[in-house]
Amino acid sequence: MATTLVPRKLRDAIEQAILDSSAGLDDLVADNLEMATWPRARRLPLAVKYVPSEYAADYRAPNAGLYIGANNYTWGRGVYVTGVSEPLSTAIYGRAGVLSRFDPAGWRAFDARIPANEDLYLRWLQAQPVYRDAVLTVHSGFWLNDLRNHFREQFHIDVVLFRPDERDAHAWYTQMSDTWLTVSDWTASGALGTEYSTRFSESRLTVLIEEEFKEDDPALTRSPLFALSGGSPASSTLSNLVRHAYAGNTMVRVQS
């Protein structure tokens, strides 16, 4: 619905970046496919989202799906997930790991892991009519999150791929080389959707994290409260265990 008012050259460069970003999304999809299960002919990628324990029970029965996050996240309003190949990456946000299938066929991606694409976004940002107010007032945080929504709406970006910008204090769960996704839902008029996402299906509680995290002050990291083993619970087999658990409708418990 919204028109982008930037020079044509920049608009074309962003469109090209979106086309080129499909390679990164394809790779991510290939790395995160579910187990082959009969009678399902087509394997879809699996996403992981951690939710607070109070919502865990919702995902042990038929449910409304994943809830769309608010504006004040990195790339604005959307569902924030990782692929199942990095199953612990966002465990700092809740103990209940919900797995879902998603079908990214035809999605327009913006790969913000690529510095040249970040540069394009910054050029777009600087061309915005409200840029001065957005960066020169105390409410910059609010403005910049809104403008990321505008960017995604103007170019109808279905998914942004980006590197983590928060992690646990010891980097036992989140690696800065991981890929986080912001997935868009759309209203009929082309605005970003709210409430429950229609992008994900068959959401089920599949990973239960023993650890609990608290935000450090200022909230640049999150610290584990138990840290019982004194190390990372990650292992090379965990991703496959989680895929098997999802396919078998069971649960993986990850010790602190």
Partner: protein, 194 residues
């Protein structure tokens, strides 16, 4: 009857926390509860129940669920934010500039002689005519870039509006710097002034 007084405590929490937003969604799964918050008329007596920024969040929440524009709240917030902060002015305008009904109507209002019918555009028109800082309003309209935003620019650039030449000159510089095509900039004027 508006359920705002009953739901005020949850609205206040939801305005700043996505977990409570989810709880509000669950609470309004009931059709009557949803109707009481989204479709009901909001009156002056409801205004004290929420702070200006909470009202702003609630108006966006209502709009995203297909609710009608609550003109009494728009006027209340317009008065509150008249001299800033800029972000709240921008957000308040966005409530209407992104409203689907206002945008459908705005697409057809190409002549100054046409009457505005919807409450959203009626508010936008008076807001444009009374704007203390018309260039700020023009910037906000360009940022949202919707048919309703073009209607605001048409109102600001109408010849009978006293400050129109200043706004027209600024829009000319804005479009020139970005080499915007005529098809886009034509929408910023009523057809009488093209």
């Amino acid at each position: 009857m508006s359920l705002v007084p009953l739901a005020a405590a949850l609205i206040r929490l939801a305005a700043t926390d996505v977990g409570y937003q989810r709880n509000l969604t669950i609470a309004t799964a009931d059709a009557l509860a949803l109707q009481g918050l989204v479709d009901s008329t909001i009156g002056e007596q409801d205004l004290p129940w929420l702070s200006p920024s909470e009202w702003l969040w609630f108006l966006q929440w209502r709009r995203d669920r297909g609710g009608a524009i609550a003109e009494v709240v728009l006027r209340h917030l317009e008065e509150q934010f008249q001299y800033g902060p800029r972000y709240l002015q921008f957000s308040l305008r966005g409530v209407v500039l992104l409203d689907p009904a206002a945008n459908v109507e705005a697409a057809y209002l190409v002549s100054e002689r046409q009457e505005v019918e919807g409450s959203g555009l009626r508010w936008l028109r008076s807001h444009a005519l009374e704007a203390a800082q018309p260039l700020d309003l023009a910037r906000d309209a360009l940022q949202f870039g919707t048919p309703a935003a073009w209607y605001v620019l048409r109102t600001l650039t109408a010849a009978r509006e006293g400050r129109s030449s200043e706004v027209r000159a600024w829009l000319g510089r804005f479009a020139g710097a970005r080499r915007l095509d005529r098809e886009t900039t034509t929408q910023w004027r009523f057809e009488e002034y093209r």
